[in-house]
Structures are given as C-alpha cells and as structure tokens.
Symmetry: D2
Subunit: 237 residues, 4 copies
C-alpha cells in the first residue's frame, strides 16, 4: 500500500463536453479510484487549489506523485515545480502520464525539450513489454491494446531511459518508447504514455494495472536525502 497523490490540471473536464463525458469526475478521480481499488491510499490535488494542492504537508505524506497535465503547462507555478522536484530528489516517486511529458516538472527532470510527434486520429495502439522481468510489467500479457488513442511518435527528445519497459505500435505506422524509467537524485520516475482526455484510456483495467505497478516500483527507496549544496568534509585516510 502506497500513499499516492494524483495531480490533475482539471480544466478540460469542466470546459469541454467531450472530455466531461469521458471523465465526469475528472481524470484525477478516475485514476484515484482505480488506485484505491488496487489497495493504495490516494488523495488528489488540482491546479486551482492553493499551492496547486501540493503543500509541504501533502508532499510530506506522498510516497508517489502521479501527474496529469495537458494544456496548462505554463500555469504551474515555478515555486511548486521546484518544491516537487526537491521531493523527487529526496526519494518521492513521480509517474507522469501522456501529455505530462511536456510538463515543467518532467522537462526539468529530463533536462531536454521532451518533444515528440503526434496525431489526433482515434487510432489503435498496442503496447509491448520489452523487459519482461521489470516489476512494472508484472501480471501483464506480452502486449495489450488501447483501442482508440492519440498517436505519439519518435523522435522523443528525452535522455535515453535508464530502463526501457514498453514500446508502443500505432496503426498509422509509428512506434514510441512508451514506458521509460529514470532516476533523479534518489527518486524514481516512470513516464507512461497511454492516455488522452477524449478517450476512456484511464478506465481500462490494464492501464490502471500498469499505473498500480508503477506506483509500487516508484516508492521511496531510502531515507537518505540528496544535498542541494556541496558539503565540505575532512580527510578520511
């Protein structure tokens, strides 16, 4: 059981009828509900809350932060981005989903533009496991299908993942490195591509199973923290 915070900009569910019909309670509630069913202790936080819902107290109580961001990248406060990154450096797990590849937090952790190609075309995606021993792939078949989604294609301008877990196939001809593990400081990061605000991807049990696995994998691994400053030390020998 992991203490999870699911963050969502929570805008289009309230302004766009198509999105609202797919996620009437908000993407955050859909994800939180799926993670609670899978045994986790989940709170949610949204952009319009004070501190975007990510106060020091909330983060003190967060093992893993799941992140949905689609349009409001520039509206996330730099101070909160800094606060979240500091927690990740000190061990908090981070699971950015789909369009969150373009969030300030993820770009900051990657140090690259994190750009990609895309196509809004309601097409088929097949997600393949390329590392069948990775804990994030536990319980999955060799591949699973997302029947309707938005395509993401290479090149994906991220650093080479520490571990590449999934690669996706799209009916339009593209491939994409859709499950990528990174470590920054002592925090684990798992970028997971499937999703879109106009398709019911986060209602798919297999997608929630992966996010469940990811949350368990991303838990803090140590109590040690990473220093922001350089530390003067004495000679040992």
């Amino acid at each position: 059981m992991v203490s999870v915070t699911v963050w969502n900009e929570y805008l289009e569910e309230r302004t766009n009828d198509e999105v609202a019909s797919v996620y009437p309670d908000g993407i955050h509630e859909t994800l939180a509900s799926g993670l609670r069913e899978r045994g986790h202790d989940v709170r949610t936080a949204t952009l319009d809350e004070p501190d975007h819902g990510l106060t020091e107290e909330v983060l003190d109580d967060t093992d893993v932060l799941v992140w949905w961001e689609h349009r409001a990248h520039e509206d996330v406060d730099d101070e909160i981005v800094e606060r979240v990154c500091d927690r990740i450096y000190d061990g908090m797990g981070f699971v950015p989903l789909h369009s969150a590849h373009f969030s300030k937090v993820f770009k900051r952790l990657m140090g690259t533009p994190c750009s990609l190609t895309y196509r809004e075309s309601r097409e088929r995606e097949r997600v393949w496991t390329v590392d069948p021993s990775h804990p994030i792939t536990a319980g999955l078949e060799e591949s699973f299908v997302i029947p309707e989604t938005e395509m993401y294609g290479e090149p994906f301008s991220v650093p080479e993942p520490d571990q590449l877990v999934f690669v996706s196939w799209f009916e339009g001809g593209e491939v994409f490195r859709s499950g990528c593990c990174y470590q920054r400081g002592t925090g684990r990061i798992f970028y997971f591509r499937p999703g879109h605000e106009t398709y019911p991807v986060y209602h798919e049990p297999v997608v929630l199973d992966v996010i469940d696995n990811a949350v368990r994998w991303a838990v803090p691994q140590t109590d040690r923290t990473v220093s922001n400053d350089n530390v003067a030390v004495d000679s040992l020998e």
Copy 2:
C-alpha cells in the same frame, strides 16, 4: 579541427592574487592556448561581456563550448542559459570543467542538484581510465596524476552517466566519477572534474590532452535539430 568557445566567469583571476599568479591571463586563455596548440580554432567569452560573450553569432560559430565557472553561478543570465541549452539540444558540444558541475547550464541539462563533497587540501589525485576504448581516453596512460588539487567526493548527485570514462582516486580516501559523458538532444556533454583556480591544473599537458580529446568527441554529430515543440504529423500507413 574544432571551432571552440572557452567560457570563463573570469572574476577571481582579477581579484585574488593567488589565482592571478597561477592564471595571469585568465583560465580561459590558458585553456584556449592549450587547445590552439592542439589544432583547434578557439575564441573566448567571459561573464562581463554583453550576453556573456555568447551572442547568437558566436554560438553559430561554436562546435563545442568549454565552460569554467566557480562562484558566479547566479550571475549567469537565465536567457543566456536558455540560449546555450538550445544550442546543445541542436548538437553543440559542451565540456563543463570542475566547479562548473554547479553551473545553471549543467544543472539544467542534468535535472538534478549536481552536489558533491569537497575538501580544499592541496592533495593528490590520480585519474583512472575505466573505458580504455573511449575516444576521450586516446593516447593516455592507464592513469595520470594531478599532484595538487581540491578533492571532490561521492555521492555526486547526477544522473548515471551514459558512459563513465574516468574515476579519480584522492589521497584523502575518496573516489569520484570524474569523466562522465551524457547526451541531451543531439548535443554531447563531457563533464571533466580536474581543475581548481589556485592550482596549475590547466597547465598540465595531460589535462589539456583530455580536453582536446573531449572537444573532438563532442563535436556536433548531425545537422538535424531537435524540435522545442510537438509536431503534428499525418498517418504513414
């Protein structure tokens, strides 16, 4: 022959007698001189120049940017940091030296605090090659000595290098991953630890040989650029 720009904050050489006695023409001129002897076309740029000497024209003509920064981390203009990173994403090589591990540019590319332990103690460092086939180690012995230096120790909070080229031994008991290769976008980065403003490290031929090798390794590999934006594409199949 590589077109190199050597950047230096160039402060302590002009304010501190000890530093001035070791690098009377500035660290940038010492490095530039060593690189010119080794066949490169080298210009220099310093903090106090307009745009810190890193105008679009200068960067247009820079294959590899070598960077010395010690104290003035906060004084480097964010817009210039952005400009330099954009060029690296598009293929410009970057060779940060010693205390530049704490520069805005390097921290931005790494996405981590980049902190370490240190000791100012005029102690001995032995730099070992751990990957003898890496082009950056061309022509070197298995190890070389820096007789007097400031110690840097682990943990060094950077992402795991794409390739680890050198590991240093310090007489005080520490080790340090002192030669680390990364790729960000299409740009190559080589962090090289040896140096210090009060020791003549950049007068050592072997150190200049490594920086020479690094500059040759870090040259732009492609004309392709990395998009800052996501690109909408049509189906191929």
Copy 3:
C-alpha cells in the same frame, strides 16, 4: 575507408532456388558490392573455407566484420568463434545482421539466449530512428520502409543495448529493437535486424547506407588490447 570482411554461411543461396534468385552471387557478394560502392575495402569469407575464411591473417587485416548466418549456427567451429571474439575484445568491430542474432559469436558476446518471436509472412516493416544524433543514423529520414520482410518481435532476450538506435514497426502489430549498439572489451558491436534470405533487403540502398554507417562507427577505437589474464601490478602510491 574501412577494411571490411563480410562473412556468410553461404548455404541456401546454393541449395534453394528462391534464395538463389534473390542473391545469385551470395548474400556476402551483395553486401560486399554495396560496401565497395560506398568506399570500403571489402573481402568476403564463407563457412566452407578453411578456418571459415577467418584466418589470423584475414582478421589482422579486418577493421570490421559483417556477419550473415541463418541456419548453420552449430556448424561454426568453436575455435573460430573464440578467435573472432578475441579480436572483438581487442577492438575489431562486429555487425551481425538479421538471423545472426542466433549465431554463436553474438550469443557469446551477449551472454543471453538472444531469442525472439518471428513470422514468415512477407509483411511490411518500417524502421524508425529513435536517436537522431547517432552516427549510424547519418543521412537517413526519420523512418524508412522495407516493403517485404520476415517479422521479428519482442521480447528480444538480449542485454539492454548501450544505445538503442532503431525501433521497427511491423504491419502485423509487432515492434522490435532493430538497431542495437553494444561494446565488448574495446570492440563495438551493432546488431541490425533487417534482412532475410528470400527478400531483396540487401539490395535496398537505404539498408546498405545503414550498414555503411555501422561499419564506419564500428572501426577499432584504440590500439590498446584487453588482457585475457589478470595482471599483477605494483603499488603506485
């Protein structure tokens, strides 16, 4: 200009009419011809020659060894496998193609079963560049098509590549890590999946361009050799 040896078991071109019609001079001659056109100095060697054509003299004069093997895995003499691996450890490049993933040499270097899934179905493959700065991708479009081929699918039981250069899309729904770089000792290895003895894949200019790039990338990087034995040394400090 690289000194290349192209090795081929050279069996099916002489026993199977379908293969003979696609590669009347043997796959080795098709590859050699394409590489000579691209500026290299190329010899060929086949299974039935003494020492499989891989004498010490031939290997002395080989910068990069390109390898085609399809069925005769068990017929490659263990002593020759050992000899080839020793040369790779000392810097000779190795470019195994397609079904050579199952060769004794490649399996030996990987230390894993190197198994995969496959389908003989004359289907379409699209090869995507995932690392556009990698020298092996020089001059290529973002993707290229092999109109008819045999499918290879994940999981591909190899170690995680040091660099993943290409990922393939197959019309039947699979993906495959089709361009994988490794280093063993001081030798560079590039596994490249496209090919098949019954399809004219090695007549495709783009495929020969990739093998050309691979050969240039895989050249020996150093004169240093890797010791087969542990070496007793004196203290340095």
Copy 4:
C-alpha cells in the same frame, strides 16, 4: 526471506593452513551463517559434490545463488555452467564474489574476458556508495573500510554495468568498480568485489549486510521464463 544457495569450490580451506585459519568451516559456511542470521533460508554446495551440488532439485529451490570461486575455474563442469545460466535467464539471482569475476558462469553472462589488475599486499580498501538510493546500499554509511585485502584495479573488462553501486579506493592508488548490477534474461546479477581467502573479509558484518541486501535485490522478479528458442507467432493486427 530468500532461499539462497551458497556455492564454494572449497579447496584452499582444506589444503592451505592460512586459508583454513581464516575460514575453518569453509567460506561457504561463513557466508551461509551470516545470511541465516539475516533471515534467509540457506543451503550450501561445493565443487566436489555430484553435479557440484547444483542438481535440478537444488536449483528449483534456489532464489539466489551466491558464488565463491578462486582457482578452480576450469574444473567447473560446462554442463553445470549451462544449467546455472539457464536458471539465471529464467529469473534466478546470481551474486558472484571477488575472484568469481573469473568464473565460467560470470564470464559467460558478461561475454567479455572480465580481467583486471591485482596486488596481494594486505592493503586497505574503502568501499564508496555512488548510488545511495540503490536497495543494495540500504543501511550503509557513505563508505566502509575493509582493513586488509587484495587490491583489484581497473581496467575491469566487463560490459558497462546497468547500475554502478559501489566504487572502491585502495591505499596503493587504485580504484575499482566494486559493486556492479546486470540483468541477463530475467535474472539479476550483482558482482561484489570485496573478499579474499586469506583475509577475514566475510566475517565483517558490513560485508555480510551488503550480501544480504544483494540477495534480497536479486530475487526472481517474474514467473515468466525466457525462451531458448525463437517462437513462431501469428499476426495480431
């Protein structure tokens, strides 16, 4: 609690008084004892037993295999090497210690010579953690000392580790990548350098703590097995 088998060639403890005085019950019993104290279910196996003690039944019941080998590399039966590697490909963990870097099993999994430099000089080693979030470093200080040991130095001709956990400092001036994680098939491998048959390294609590951590990290991650053969499959799309 992990089901561990500790394998030892068990020769020098019975033929060499110096070794016998340090490990009177054999290195395997010293390791087994330390691991039992730390909560594991441990059996031992030695070279001179039938099948070197590594029958299919024993391996069926082994989550992680710890391996001590010093001189008898050539006496390990190739069929047993094959059997052990097959189990590792299918998920069994493998923890080779010290001179086991030169074992047939480890060399087979690495695909390289695995050579290094060494010096028998009763010198001091300091083992540094370079990845403080790695589970294998749980509960450790930033560094720990082995007061008397045999030196191992770079270059260590192994593939670049998937994760580098420890780097050692030696008073004679060398460094060594002393804690290296790899994955082969679905099996996890942790090479740990400290040890020697004439020094009481395996009586040191901190060394046993690391091996304990390693054993917990290396447990099988999945029930999936890796195929030794290529598998023909039907089209999915």
